[in-house]
Every structure is written in structure tokens, then in C-alpha cells.
């Protein structure tokens, strides 16, 4: 009697403990479409009770909540503690803390430029050997992700420092299906059709585009995306690569032509909501709002996959808003280029638990856990696409898979003085009336001066 009482008490305690530990996990291990195998085999491999992993990154607010949930599973699997803290001024904070010697274990860089800078100053630790081969094999367009994460150390040796986790697709045009339906507009398949549609909307008395470049100190960046898209649609990818590394100069006629392609849309008063002069002053966060007004202030908005976060709250994806691939020229025969960006993890302060965390981020489950929460795309080839939170994300994932060419956001790869400075302000000058050739020459001068 007494033993059975003890036994049942023990069972009760055990189940209570299990229930408690699972309570904060949004997806129960073993259920759903997730690759739980990778989770259990990872959990069996590591026991890091008592260890702590400090991580900083640029994900704050609701993105922090989501990534915290991913780390919860790491804690559950290994017994280690993860402290993630997001900062709005991550780029400054990480430099200060690594220089002063209070670096976190891992940093999630929003773009590779800063990581490359820090690697060249010896502030980062290379990833374990073999990681490069693993990424090349397991990521879609793997070698390009390896190249993007490989930087020179202070001695000039190239190492893989960054593991990409979370990708944004930029080549998307957002539109309002109800407005398209009422006006009888078709989704354009080629750039020629897109230009035709633009003219047709003007003929029907509407305004085709909403474009806003405002972004506080970063004003101008949405235009750099436009120019990069146009580079990929007017020139072969090799030319794009040479442009990003300044092997061909910024005032090359091919670059100027790409800027003028952007100007074709942005500098025409009839094409842009509010007229061309408001492009530079409209905040990029507010610019898609015109899609949802009645009557529609504009019909299309080109922006990356993160923009739904800034749509009005009652907008339903698939009903009130949808997207199509920003098409390429049919006559140029350059395939279907896709522009994107992504965040990468790099080690700023190595430890055993940190290595385990990198291993965890290589498992499909680490990607699926955020995919299921929404707002996350991945190039990881081993994930189950069914775990994407909704169809629109799956369709964006599909665009990523269908890409004949994938190129990373060029302004993130240029030296920050150009890609996060002269290029931005140059684009503001361009939309406010300075000729493209002059703007390009000014940017090239800046580039020359820092070399």
C-alpha cells in the first residue's frame, strides 16, 4: 500500500514536471510536420547543464519573442541557458562590447558587411572546419551562402565565419487582389507586361505605384533595392558582382542605366502616388498603406518579404493583399533573378555551448520552429516546407527555390560608407532631381576616396 502510494506520488511528480517543462513550448515535440528526428538526435548528443549562451542581435519586439521560442527548444534539449537580447542599435553595440572585451558568445548580424569588418579585425572566431562543405551541400544555392559568410581574418586568410539563418526575399510586388479584380488587371509575367500594366492603370485614371524611401537616418535604402533589382534584370549576374566589388565603377553606363530604369517608375508623376517629389519624404513603413485605401491610392508596391508587418492590422494575406514576383525582361533572357538578404550567426566569444548552438542552428528543426511562427524564410534544404505558417510564406519560399540566380542585397555587401551611406543619400539626390550620371559619379568619388 505504502509503496504504491510512493510510486503514484512519484509518477504524479514526474508527469507534473514534464507538463511544466513542456508548457512554455508552443509546439509539442513529436507532433506536427516538424523534423523532430533532428531534435531528438541533437538532444541525445549534448548535455550542457549549467552552461550559458549569451546572444545579441537586431531582432527586437515580436521577432525577439519568436527567436526566444526557438532558443527555448535548445534549452530544453541541452539543459543550457540562453540569454538573447535584441538591440535597436545592434551595429554600434556589438562593436563597443567586442572592443571592450565584454562580447556575447554569438551575434546575429542583420547583414554580412559588419561581420566582414569585424572578422578582419580579429573580433570573430571561425566556424568549425567542415561547416563550409555542410552549408554548400545543404543550403539551396549553397555555395553563394558560403561565399557570403566567408571573410578574411587580420592575416588575410579566408575562413567561414557566418551561418545564415533567416532570409528575406526582396523581389516581390505587393498588390490588392480586390482592386486588381475590379479593374480586370492581370498579374504581369514579364517586365514588358509590368510596364504595360503601369500605363494601363494611368489610362484608367489610377496611380500604379506606391514608393517611399524615408527611413530616418537610413533614408534612401528602399531605392538601392530597386536599383539592384534593375541591375539583375538588365545585366548578367557577373556584372552585378563586379559592380558590388567596384571592379566596374559606379558611374559605368550599365549602372547608370539601371538607376534610370528605377527612375522610369519613380520619377514619373503619373506613376507614383503623391507625385515623384514625395518619394523621398514618404516613410517606407507608411508607403504600402495606399494599397488598402478606398479608392486605392496605388495598385502596386515593391518591397521585401518583411513588409506585411507594416500593413494595417485588419489586412488579411491572400484576401486583401497578395504578391507576385517582380518580373524580368523577356527580351533580355536573363532568367528569373531573385534579390534577397539575410541574417547570419557568427561566434564572438567561443565556448562549448556556443559550438552546440551552431550545431543546433544547422538542424532543420531550428529553422522549422521559426517558420511555423511566421515571418521567416530559409534556404536550408532539409526543412519540411509544410511547416511554413501560411501559403504566402510558402509561395515566397517557392520563389526562392525557382530563382535561376540568387544575389544578395548589394548595398549590404559594399563597404558601409558606400552601401549604408553614399548610395542611400545618392538615391535621395536622384529622386529629387539630380541626374543619374552625376549621382553615380559622386558615389564613385566617395568609393575612390576610401580605397
Amino acid at each position: 500500500m505504502k509503496t504504491s502510494l510512493y510510486a503514484s506520488a512519484a509518477v504524479l511528480a514526474l508527469t507534473a514536471g514534464a507538463a511544466h517543462s513542456a508548457a512554455h513550448l508552443p509546439f509539442n515535440p513529436g507532433e506536427g510536420d516538424f523534423s523532430w528526428d533532428s531534435y531528438t538526435s541533437f538532444a541525445d548528443q549534448y548535455d550542457l547543464s549549467g552552461a550559458t549562451v549569451e546572444i545579441t542581435g537586431a531582432w527586437t519586439g515580436n521577432e525577439k519573442e519568436k527567436v526566444d521560442k526557438v532558443f527555448d527548444y535548445f534549452e530544453e534539449a541541452t539543459g543550457a541557458t540562453v540569454n538573447y537580447s535584441g538591440s535597436d542599435s545592434f551595429e554600434q553595440d556589438i562593436v563597443i562590447s567586442t572592443r571592450a572585451g565584454s562580447a556575447p558568445n554569438l551575434a546575429a548580424f542583420p547583414q554580412p558587411g559588419l561581420a566582414a569588418d569585424m572578422a578582419s579585425q580579429g573580433l570573430l572566431t571561425p566556424l568549425a572546419e567542415g561547416t563550409a562543405d555542410w552549408v554548400a551541400e545543404n543550403y539551396a544555392a549553397g555555395q553563394s551562402w558560403v561565399d557570403l559568410g566567408t571573410y578574411a581574418d587580420p592575416d588575410g586568410n579566408e575562413n567561414l565565419y557566418g551561418l545564415f539563418y533567416r532570409v528575406d526575399v526582396k523581389s516581390l510586388v505587393w498588390y490588392n487582389p480586390i482592386a486588381f479584380d475590379e479593374m480586370g488587371y492581370e498579374i504581369p509575367e514579364t517586365m514588358e507586361e509590368l510596364k504595360e500594366l503601369t500605363d494601363q492603370i494611368v489610362d484608367d485614371g489610377g496611380t500604379p505605384w506606391c514608393i517611399g524611401l524615408g527611413s530616418g537616418a537610413a533614408t534612401g535604402w528602399p531605392a538601392t533595392d530597386w536599383v539592384e533589382e534593375m541591375m539583375l534584370r538588365t545585366q548578367p549576374p557577373e556584372v552585378y558582382d563586379q559592380w558590388v566589388t567596384n571592379e566596374i565603377s559606379f558611374d559605368d553606363p550599365r549602372v547608370v542605366a539601371a538607376m534610370e530604369e528605377f527612375g522610369y517608375f519613380a520619377l514619373n508623376d503619373d506613376y507614383v502616388q503623391g507625385g515623384a517629389e514625395t518619394v523621398a519624404t514618404t516613410d517606407f513603413r507608411d508607403s504600402p498603406a495606399g494599397l488598402f485605401t478606398i479608392p486605392a491610392e496605388c495598385y502596386m508596391h515593391r518591397q521585401a518579404s518583411f513588409i506585411p508587418a507594416f500593413f494595417p492590422e485588419d489586412v488579411v494575406a491572400g484576401e486583401d493583399v497578395d504578391f507576385f514576383y517582380f518580373p524580368a525582361y523577356e527580351e533580355k533572357d536573363l532568367g528569373k533573378p531573385v534579390l534577397g538578404a539575410g541574417a547570419l550567426f557568427a561566434i564572438t566569444n567561443p565556448s562549448e555551448a556556443t559550438t552546440a548552438m551552431i550545431e543546433f542552428l544547422k538542424t532543420p528543426i531550428a529553422h522549422e520552429l521559426w517558420m511555423a511562427q511566421g515571418g521567416f524564410l530559409t534556404a536550408h534544404g532539409g526543412v519540411n516546407l509544410d511547416t511554413y505558417a501560411d501559403d504566402s510564406l510558402r509561395a515566397q519560399g517557392q520563389i526562392l527555390q525557382d530563382a535561376s540566380t540568387f544575389r544578395f542585397d548589394g548595398s549590404d555587401l559594399m563597404p558601409s560608407e558606400i552601401g549604408a551611406g553614399a548610395f542611400w543619400s545618392g538615391m535621395v539626390d536622384y529622386v529629387t532631381g539630380t541626374p543619374a550620371a552625376e549621382v553615380a559619379a559622386t558615389i564613385q568619388e566617395r568609393w575612390d576616396s576610401i580605397q
Binding site: N83, S85, S89, A100, A179, D204, I294, P312
Partner: protein, 423 residues
Amino acid sequence: MDQMAGQKTSLSIVTNISVVALVLIWLIPTIGLLVSSFRDREQISETGWWASMFPVEVAYRVSPEPEGVTQDGTLYTFSGNLFSASDEVSAQGSGDVSAFGITGRDPGAATPGQTFGRLKLVVSEPDGTTDEENYETSWPADGQPTAPETDEDGRPVQDFYIDRAVTVAANGDFTWVQDGEIGRAPTIYIIAAAPPDFGLQNYEQILTSDNMDRAFINTLTVTIPATIIPILIAAFAAYALAWMDFRGRGFLIAMVVGLLVVPLQLALVPLLQLHNKVGIGQSFLGIWLAHTGFGLPLAIYLLRNYMVGLPRDIIESAKVDGATDFQVFTKIVLPLSFPALASFAIFQFLWTWNDLLVAKVFLPSNSESWVMTVKIADDLLGSRGGDWGILAAAAFISIAVPLIVFFAMQKYLVRGLLAGSVK
């Protein structure tokens, strides 16, 4: 006498006008911020705060489910009320349709009491064949539609019939008529006045967010010692620099004044390196020391200038009576300097309360150590900013304590400032 009185009046008018203008310049943005703090992000990006007090005409899209459809020849009809058909409209609209339409392009094409619809015009081509095209028009609800004799291209119209039409009354009652069966819910656009919409949701979101209480206590933990420590040190230093004779005093004063112009950003990395070396690391002790260091030059400068202006007779007579420097300092100079101490305390308190940069560098980055400014900037505003309503409400919440401090001590502020700086 008259002249003098007149001069005085005109001068005082000018003074009054400039005071009013200055007050307005300062007050208007504050009122705007206050109004914005009660509105959500969408409203802020749609209309300016000055327009938010009035009802605005807003277009709504309503899709009433076809219920009770009756058939009359090829025409199918159903009716209902638009305000009861949509929760969104009944929640925001005031129940008064001012215009309506059937396309998003022109949502206010007709006025209530009219019928608005799309006619199919049968036009004859020059080669004798006929063609159909759409023509949108409105007509009185009890009347019949009329078609033009020729279409836009000048082709003669032979016949027409109603493709779809809707009659809407001002109270939202509508009748939908359609040629052919009604397959899916029709879309009707109405324009109705939306009342001004304010709410406490921003304040609620800030006050109920996780760890906000912790952030508030952290801010106090940083602010209070970071105000008291520099005052203590600076008062001693200021007395020494003002009333004690020693070699190099002038040079020391010049050094302190010189330090005023050194930007604190220069010191962030070396100071944090030093803290890491001596084992303080990122901690509250570290941030107290940092704030103390950054606040000392101004504190010493203000207090010394004030103390130097105290009457020499009092201090000399105290010395003649045998008082030591320490006694002179605690018994005479310190009580007399109270206005200057208070005014500097207000300065230092406001500066440390509002500080974001120093807190981010010298405190650990985990959420248990966040002060209010970090909590607001990194957590509440989200990844890409843009939540102006939250920002405005957060500003008013974080301003509360400094306001109390200011009003409690403000009578010393002006006195202390004037005495310290204008000599």
C-alpha cells in the same frame, strides 16, 4: 506722463505677444504628442493629430451575404441593411451614408436615395454587327435609367439593360438587383462619417508589458546614486577650488572647464575596457561610476562659480573664530549653496533618467537589467520602429517622475542657475 504710460503699454504688449508666441511654439508639439499617444499607428499615418478631433468621411467596403433573393424575370433582387451586414462599418460608421458606389475606384459615385448601377449598352458597329459595353450611371430610385444615344467612341446605342444596380438609403437600407443569379456576395462601397477615435491602448500596452516594473526600478537604481554621488564629490571639490589656496588651483579649474567640451562618446570603449579589467564589468556599480565621471565637470564648474560668489566676510569671520575648512564647508558654505546643489541635482537627474547610450554600454544587455529607455527603444518599438503611438505614450509615461522632481525643486532651479553662471 501720458507718453511714458503709452510707451510702457506698447512695450508690455510686445512682451506679452512674444511670451504667448514662445509658449505656443513649445506647447503645440507637446499637445500633438499627447494627442498622438491616444491614437494607434494606422490613424497616425493616415491623418495629422490636428485633424483627429473631427469626424472624417471614410469609405467602407461591404459585402452583404445574399439572403432572401427574389426573382423577377432575369433580374434577381435582395435587400437588407448595410450597417447590420458589416461589423466594421457598424462599429465605426455613425449610421449615416453620405454617398455610395459599386467600384473601389469611385466609392462615392451616387448619393443616398438614388440607384447606381452598371448598364450593358448594346451598340452597333460600323460594319452592322452589335457589341455590348459597360456604362455606369445613377438615376432616381423610383425612376428608370437612361442611356446616352452614342457611346464614347460615337457608336449609336440601340438598346440597354441593367447588369447590376444598387439602391441605398441614408440609413443603410439597400436593394441589390442583378441580371442573372447572385453567385457570391456583391461588393458595395459606402462613404460614412467615422467619429473621432481615441483609446488608452498604447498606455495599456506599455504599462502591462513584461518587465516594465523591473525597468522602472532599474531606472531608479541607476538614477538616484548617479545623482547623489557626483553632487557629494563635486561639493567638496568646488569648495576647495573656490576657497582654499593651493598651488595649481587655477590650472585645475581650467582643466575642469576644458573637460566640459570633451564628448563622452570618446570615453565609452576605454572606460568599459577599464571596468572589465578591474572586475566591475557591466554592472550597476559601473554605470554609477560612469555617470559620476560624465557629470562631474559640469557639477564642479557650476558649484564652484556659485560658492565663489558667497560673501567673503562670512567665511573670513568664521575662520577668525577658529573654524576649520571642514567646518566652514559643512556649517556655512553647504547650507548657503543649497539652490545650486538643487539645480544641479535636477540637471543630473533628468540626464540620467533620459539616458539611453550610457545604459546600453555599461549595463548587461539581458532584459533583467533594462532601464526604461532601453525597454522602450528595443522592446516596445519593435524591429523596425514606426510605432509612433507607442513612442508618444512612452514619452508621457517616462516623463512623469522627472516632472514630479522638477516641480518639487523648480524654485531652486532658476535661482541656482543664475547665481552659478552669471557673474
